[in-house]
């Protein structure tokens, strides 16, 4: 596919802080109108990649094109295409909502008359039209995020870049934010590229790139990646995983993995559901719970890195 058919195309990108290599040979392709997630635990290098694509960091190795234009050669036209939502809201707390939006429009050279019309429309679209005169510092975290989105969309970007957009928000606000983003994506035909360390947030994406310690460990469509992991399995909760695993192994033709406080059982043939019922009946005195599971992105990470998602180091 030609470069200009991709909203964002990243090829062989690497980055070093001094002698420390934090990103190595990263590739990704965001299709026009698509939604792409860069998923990784803390310290995987996703924020560094985000800062390179958003032009805050210089592109050291590799190439990035946005809408077919080289980010290295044409940073200014590329910036005009991007709407960038940072982990921490890039709004001025000492200004009102309307002043923040006006300021942002001025940064992008929007005609002042047109700007006022756009501000009104965006505030209305994000449901904050009655908050225009309030200081941003007086708003809740969720409302600040809405203001931030209204601000970013003022310039009518074709690509929305978001770095961990739900950081610091409670679950209800997170869900509200994702539904707002989904609505915007559909109405404005936006291509969306976002980073997250929350596995559940990656699920709705068309494609993901899984990062670990600066390296790409997997990429592709979520469903395909999941199915590549194999079949459904059964997770048995227990107080003595080793003992229970030993007993189940004796049955043969079953793959058994010991986990903290549970045992993972994968049927070598047949379906997992009948196996779950049988194991529950046979070991009911040792089993505290039975869960029928589909392979998750966490399993993918475990398979690719040999480590649990939760045991990863701090953010780069």
């Amino acid at each position: 596919m030609a470069d200009n058919l991709y909203a964002v195309k990243v090829t062989g990108v690497g980055y070093s802080y001094g002698k420390k290599r934090v990103l190595d040979n990263i590739d990704l392709k965001l299709e026009e109108g698509g939604m792409f997630c860069v998923l990784g635990p803390n310290g995987s290098g996703k924020t560094t990649l985000f800062k390179i694509i958003s032009t805050i960091f210089a592109l050291q190795d590799g190439e990035i094109s946005v809408g077919g234009r080289s980010l290295r050669r044409f940073p200014t036209p590329v910036r005009k295409k991007l709407g960038v939502l940072f982990q921490n809201p890039a709004v001025d707390m000492k200004l009102t909502v309307r002043e923040n939006l006006r300021h942002h429009g001025n940064l992008y050279g929007i005609d002042p008359h047109d700007l006022e019309t756009r501000i009104n429309k965006n505030l209305e679209a994000l449901g904050v039209e009655n908050r225009g005169g309030e200081m941003v510092e007086s708003l809740s975290g969720g409302l600040r995020r809405r203001v931030e989105i209204a601000k970013v969309l003022l310039t009518r970007p074709s690509i929305l870049l978001m770095d961990e957009p739900t950081t610091g928000l409670d679950p209800a606000i997170r869900s509200e934010l994702w539904s707002i983003i989904s609505g915007i994506r559909n109405t404005r035909k936006l291509s969306v590229l976002f980073t997250t360390h929350l596995l559940e947030e990656a699920e709705p994406a068309d494609e993901i790139l899984l990062l670990d310690q600066g390296h790409s460990v997997a990429s592709g469509r979520v469903a395909e990646l999941r199915s590549s992991l194999g079949k459904e399995y059964v997770r048995l909760g227990t107080y003595s995983p080793k003992k229970l695993a030993g007993k189940i192994r004796k049955e043969g033709e079953i793959e058994v993995t010991i986990e903290p406080a549970s045992v993972k059982v994968v049927p070598s043939r047949g379906l997992a559901a009948p196996l779950a019922i049988r194991l529950w009946r046979e070991y009911s005195h040792e089993v505290t719970s039975v869960t029928l599971c589909r392979p998750t992105l966490e399993d993918l990470f475990l398979q690719k890195t040999g480590r649990l998602w939760s045991s990863t180091p701090g953010e780069i």
């Binding site: 800062k51 958003s54 032009t55 805050i56 960091f57 210089a58 200014t76 036209p77 910036r79 005009k80 991007l82 960038v84 940072f86 982990q87 921490n88 809201p89 890039a90 709004v91 001025d92 707390m93 000492k94 200004l95 002043e99 006006r102 300021h103 942002h104 001025n106 940064l107 992008y108 050279g109």
Partner: protein, 255 residues
Amino acid sequence: MFMQASYSLALREVTRFLRQKNRVIGAMATPVLFWFLLGSGVGRSLVAPGFRERTDYLTYFFPGIVLLIILFTAIFSTVSVIEDRREGFLQGVLVAPDGRSAILFGKLMGGTMLAVFQAIVVVLLAPYSDYHPDARVLFNLFAMIAVLAVGLTALGFLIAWPMDSTQGFHALINLFFVPLWFLSGALFPPSGAAGWIRALMHFNPLSYGHDALAGLLATRPGMPLPVDLSHDFSIVCVTTLLLVMACTVQVSRRS
């Protein structure tokens, strides 16, 4: 687009300043109080060679206080660079099409506007120090103050840009800027100072700013402007230009 962006950033600086009442009061009242107390306290007790005809310290100290106001307002306005980075606002500017140059010129314009405004308000107190500037002197004072403000804001920006701690910035100010002001002739004239102090004052560009302010304020209506004004002005202008160029180079570098 660039001018619209820079102007918007400058306007933001002024709006933020005016919304922080304590900052307005502190910025205006501290130097004036300093001038009044020190000037009145020392009074006529110091008669050193090189002092002007009137050796009242309240009078001698006045140009130094105008310089202090420019210095502090310009420098402190650039603390916002560090705050903007910490609070996340700066990154929103950096991803804008002309963000990097706009943030520099916006900060320079904002800092200059604030410093000039405050310095001019204090200059209006000049008659209390027995200075009586006419319109021609006021015009030249305005120009000198503006150039000094641009230069000092650029100096503050140059130091603040790579920093991530406001505490560190304040420590540097105490270490670097206060001595710079001490050695400008604001507190004492070079003629009575030790040789090495005189040498330092000679190489301090702020000395020429102070000299220009003092010379202009001392110009009575109808008298010609000080002969060394253009010399002082040239040195301050060249220094300012070099500082702005250094800022441009620094801000264009990406990590």
